[in-house]
């Protein structure tokens, strides 16, 4: 998966504090500052929606696994980014295995449900350049 918001913000701080060699000024510096500004705009979106997207995704995967008779997965242990991502990693691993099983069995109904869930998962994590 892509980096979590705390990583993005840490990275921005590091990038802003890192001294650049003299040849890395001018257009390169302008491009770098522009990228950092773009990342700040995306971080604002993620700050608003990121945790909710993770809570929703974990719940949606858990519900699909229960319906599909998948193995139980530990519940979320907190609402921090790291706790939700750890739970999400466990759930996604099981989801991958359940999807592979559905393909091997030729269970087209479950496959279709999983493919629809993938679209919803990707949409829930959508970032929009220039706002949103």
């Amino acid at each position: 998966m892509t980096p979590a918001l705390p990583d993005i913000l840490t990275g921005q701080a590091v990038a802003l504090m890192t001294p650049l060699p003299p040849e890395a000024g001018g257009d390169y510096l302008a491009g770098r500052v522009g990228l950092l500004a773009m990342l700040a705009g995306l971080a604002a979106q993620e700050a608003e929606r990121g945790l909710a997207a993770r809570v929703w995704e974990n719940g949606a995967i858990r519900a699909l696994l229960a319906e599909a008779g998948g193995p139980p997965v530990e519940a979320d242990e907190g609402l921090t980014w790291s706790a939700l991502d750890a739970a999400n990693a466990r759930l996604r691993r099981v989801l991958i295995a359940v999807h592979e099983g559905a393909e091997e069995r030729g269970d087209r109904t479950l496959q279709a449900e999983i493919l629809e869930l993938y679209q919803q998962m990707a949409a829930a994590r959508r970032l929009v350049l220039g706002g949103g």
């Binding site: 998966m1 892509t2 390169y28 491009g31 990342l39 393909e103």
Partner: protein
């Protein structure tokens, strides 16, 4: 010594007494450090580009293959820059590098900009897909790139590329990615037909990787670092991945409509396009993209968070690619 002084020392040792002026880093892809500079010899000034390996690299690419790929297309009508020198051991610059002649007066277009070419969109699109077709049409015999790479068998192209990029995901993934995993399984279960022709594949042929003069002319095709030999549909599909187009604009990268793009490429490459093969390579393009963004996120973390372009690629671009993959898989339906 500064980088400019070390570069001047190298140029003086290998050629004539040289002064390096106006050395400045420019944005030039995440897998090489790219600099522009002026070399002054006997009061004669000329512009050059230095491409040096970074301390860590987004994609492990062969700079010799890149150098020879560009050289393979010198004077072949595809706007390949003129390469000058290659130093694989790094010489005075400590890391491998090569030098090419600078093309002044060009600009790049952001893949994310609306209407990036304005009234010149059609002309740019015609050249963009024609140049790609000419790269495909170029016979391999005698090309310099053969000094670095051996052509794969036509029926081996897909597997070699899929194995490589799936391996990149295996190596660099920091969080389970069910969407791209499903795409990889689908590609393995339904391989494409053998390549209609084995040709040079640029590897990253897309908007953002060429210079245009703002008046409808492409003046340089850049970023050959992933060049290899393979199925030319790989380039065609990569260039048309929705990632490189504004979702609100039906044209490919703000240039021309999809059907027109395919017609231009087919005419200039002299190849018919097999729809099933193109569909396979289109899904593969999104897998390859996700592999690159996965590496980008890892490199950003491992490199100490210093390069914001890696964060952008590993975060925004990766999520957009996941949306594209999920849409493609849903449209294809269950296996």
């Amino acid at each position: 010594m500064t980088l400019a002084e070390r570069l001047a020392a190298y140029l003086t040792r290998t050629g004539a007494p040289t002064t390096v002026e106006n050395l400045a880093r420019i944005s030039g892809g995440a897998s090489r450090e790219t600099y522009r500079y002026d070399a002054v010899v006997d009061d004669v000034r000329a512009g050059f580009i230095l491409r040096r390996d970074p301390p860590g690299s987004l994609i492990e690419t062969d700079r010799r293959a890149e150098f020879l790929a560009i050289r393979s297309f010198a004077g072949k009508g595809v706007a390949a820059p003129e390469v000058i020198a290659l130093e694989e051991d790094g010489a005075e610059l400590e890391r491998p590098f090569f030098i090419m002649r600078r093309v002044d007066g060009g600009m790049t277009a952001s893949p994310f900009a609306p209407d990036p070419f304005g009234p010149h969109a059609g002309a740019i699109g015609d050249q963009f897909f024609s140049f790609m077709g000419r790269i495909t049409a170029e016979p391999l015999d005698g090309l310099p790139i053969l000094e670095a790479l051996a052509p794969p068998a036509p029926d081996a192209c897909w597997r070699r590329e899929l194995d490589y990029w799936a391996g990149v995901i295996d190596a660099d993934e920091q969080h389970p990615q069910p969407i791209v995993r499903a795409a990889i399984r689908r590609l393995r279960r339904h391989p494409p037909p053998p390549a209609a022709r084995v040709s040079v594949v640029h590897g990253d042929y897309r908007t953002g990787n060429f210079l245009h003069d703002g008046a409808g002319r492409i003046v340089a095709v850049l970023d050959w670092e992933m060049a290899h030999l393979g199925d030319p549909l790989e380039d065609l599909a990569w260039a048309m991945d929705p990632l490189w187009s504004n979702p609100a604009d039906p044209r490919i990268s703000g240039m021309v409509a999809r059907d027109e793009a395919l017609a231009i490429w087919s005419r200039t490459s002299s190849l018919e396009i097999d729809p099933d093969a193109l569909a396979w390579w289109s899904l593969f393009a999104s897998v390859k993209g996700q592999a690159i963004w996965t590496s980008s996120a890892k490199e950003w973390r491992d490199g100490g968070f210093t390069e914001p372009i890696l964060a952008f690629s590993g975060w925004y671009t990766a999520r957009r690619q996941d949306e594209i993959l999920a849409e493609r898989l849903a449209a294809m339906g269950p296996l």
